[in-house]
């Protein structure tokens, strides 16, 4: 098998699994391998069973080796490639996912299923993700095309560029990404982009640091226009929108819903409260079966 960064993953039974990031943790549980997970990376919070598992610090090769894993799941969204390289050098099987779009998320689901020895489950998960994504994209088809950015950090302004799963979310909600193309996946850009006349929508993960940054921004003279509601900001649940795991379609659904509601002129421009606009509830979580 070849993982999503092109490295070979030797086959073999998997009895002990280490998942190094929240997205691959969710993936492991979603393909039915939750019972094999012996440790997770620090920020694992879903599914609930994962929160009770021991944590392993990022970069701590010794701790990972001490766990005697048969397989380590890693992601390009947050794991240090040098650690991955070192684990491979030590003879540990590592499978890395690189989800830069919904299509690759679907492929990652299949890959995860194969690699843990549950190809049928993986295939089923892949199809579910595919269908949910297609349905959400279909709902967005009639929406007017607007220009948007996906903000990862306010100050300095860091946005998601084309070629990321954030960008794919924007496109599938009929939003054109104004971020520059050839400057890396998450480039730092001129804050004047926020004043660009073409910019109609800003999408951001709903997280305390980002809420605080936004509050500071709108309090300053530079952010006056933003405070008045132009462009409008859509806050998405951070644990869905910032994580390229199997629940990503829920984030897409939330974004589309928010746009639809916005178009319906319901006047919901509530950017200050924690409830925000279009928070998809955790009902959308997948229960491991």
């Amino acid at each position: 098998m070849i993982d999503q960064i092109g490295s070979p993953v030797p086959g073999g039974p998997v009895r002990r699994l280490v998942a190094l990031a929240p997205d691959v943790t969710e993936l492991a549980f979603a393909v039915g391998a939750g019972g094999l997970v012996v440790a997770v990376g620090e920020a694992a919070d879903f599914p609930p069973a994962a929160t009770r598992l021991p944590h392993v610090a990022p970069g701590d090769a010794e701790a990972i080796v001490a766990l005697r894993p048969d397989l380590v799941l890693a992601t390009t969204a947050g794991n240090d490639p040098r650690l991955i390289g070192r684990l491979r050098d030590l003879g540990i099987r590592v499978c890395t996912v690189d989800v830069t779009s919904f299509a690759r998320l679907v492929a990652a689901c299949r890959l995860a299923g194969e690699v843990v020895g549950q190809p049928a489950r993986g295939e089923r998960l892949a199809r579910e993700v595919e269908e949910r994504t297609a349905r959400a994209s279909e709902r967005a088809r009639t929406l007017p095309l607007e220009r948007a950015i996906f903000v990862v950090w306010w100050d300095p302004l860091i946005v998601a560029a084309p070629g990321t799963f954030h960008d794919d979310m924007l496109r599938r909600s009929r939003l054109e990404n104004l971020a520059p193309a050839a400057a890396g996946r998450y480039p730092r850009v001129d804050p004047e982009l926020l004043l660009d006349a073409r910019l109609a929508v800003i999408v951001a993960p709903d997280e305390p640091d980002l809420r605080a940054g936004f509050a500071r921004l709108t309090a300053s003279p530079f952010g006056a226009r933003l405070a008045a509601g132009t462009p409008r900001v859509i806050w998405l649940p951070a644990d869905l929108a910032d994580r390229p795991g199997p629940r990503l379609p829920a984030a897409l659904e939330a974004l589309v819903t928010a746009r639809v509601a916005g178009e319906a002129g319901s006047g919901i421009r509530d950017q200050g409260s924690g409830a925000g606009m279009a928070v998809a509830t955790p009902r959308a979580q997948r229960r491991p079966r």
Binding site: I5, A57, G59, D60, A61, E62, A63, V65, A66, L67, R68, T76, D80, P81, R82, R86, D89, L90, G91, G184, R185, Y186, P187, R188
Partner: protein, 324 residues
């Protein structure tokens, strides 16, 4: 007193080796690690001890010895207690090239970063030599000034790379600029160890000459030192040692500066006697510094260059205050 110091050095070195293998982390207890060293123990502990801890220790020893030896030699060569490869811009040049490689190269080619570091160190060395040349060849003072200039240029380059680095590459860039032994692997050690033998030998060979040069080039020439030849050889050897260190461990400052001074306090001024002991002391100090880097804020790991800086700065201040 010197005999006692020699014995003390051996004890410190052996303690550093033992501590780095036995007490480096919770994943393998000292008892388990000892069992693994003796040939037994579960396979994962053997992996931890032999594939993770041992290469890292070996790299720390080799890098520490290289930096301390180069520092001691440069201090004598330039008659300047503040000389060290870090201050002469050699580390900076290597780090700038390594950082640029980290930011620019595609993931598959990241194995070339050490080569870039060595090329950068070599380039910085050439630049310092060229800037420092005067009618009688490069002089000690001019070399230091040239080093300051090259360091400034390297810092500017590094800051630029930091600003442009995509976030997944940032940890690697930080490891280079702040020094880190975390990526040690047996291949690196196997390459670096024979590499340092030649420049190391050149420095040891010129130990006596360096002692004479410490009182000035004129005195040294009058006492039989071929000043121009020795200056060139020592500078190149020190630069080679430093380039190797930066290539695999990033910028670890202050080891080259502080170790020779500590050694002088214990063993006196004779540079010939000092050089081999400085190398061993540098090895021990770097290994201990790396241990502190791993354990002080566990499970987070500090870059070892941070630890050496934190320990080195008060020492540096004390040195300045003592100066006549």
């Amino acid at each position: 007193m010197r005999r006692a110091a020699d014995a003390g050095l051996v004890v410190v070195l052996l303690s550093a080796v033992a501590a780095s293998l036995l007490f480096a982390g919770p994943a393998a207890s000292p008892g388990e690690a000892l069992a693994a060293l003796a040939g037994g123990g579960p396979p994962e502990v053997r992996t931890i001890v032999f594939d993770l801890r041992l290469p890292r220790l070996a790299l720390a020893l080799v890098v520490g010895a290289s930096l301390a030896l180069a520092g001691a030699a440069l201090q004598a060569l330039l008659s300047n207690p503040l000389a060290d490869p870090f201050l002469l811009g050699i580390s900076g040049g290597g780090a700038a090239a390594a950082t640029a490689a980290y930011v620019v190269l595609p993931a598959a080619a990241l194995g070339l970063v050490p080569a870039a570091a060595m090329a950068g160190a070599a380039l910085a060395t050439g630049l310092v030599w060229w800037l420092a040349r005067g009618p009688l060849g490069p002089s000690g003072t001019r070399m230091i000034l040239a080093g300051v200039a090259v360091n400034a240029a390297a810092s500017a380059a590094i800051l630029t790379m930091l600003a442009l680095a995509p976030s997944p590459r940032l940890p690697g860039v930080i490891a280079v600029t702040m020094g880190s032994l975390a990526s040690a692997n047996p291949g690196q050690v196997a390459w670096l160890t024979p590499y340092i033998l030649v420049p190391g030998f050149v420095l040891l060979l010129h130990g006596r000459d360096l002692g004479l040069l410490a009182t000035g080039e004129e005195s040294a020439a009058a006492l039989g030192v071929e000043v121009a030849t020795v200056r060139r050889r020592v500078f190149l050897a020190a630069a080679a040692l430093c380039g190797g260190a930066v290539a695999f461990a990033g910028v670890i400052g202050f080891v080259g500066l502080v170790t020779p001074h500590v050694c002088r306090l214990l063993w006196g001024q004779s540079t010939r006697r000092l050089l081999p002991r400085a190398a061993l002391a540098g090895a021990a100090l770097t290994a201990l510094g790396d241990l502190v880097a791993r354990r002080a804020l566990a499970p987070a790991e500090l870059p070892v260059g941070v630890v050496t800086a934190l320990l080195g700065v008060p020492f540096f201040v004390a040195l300045l205050r003592r100066a006549p």
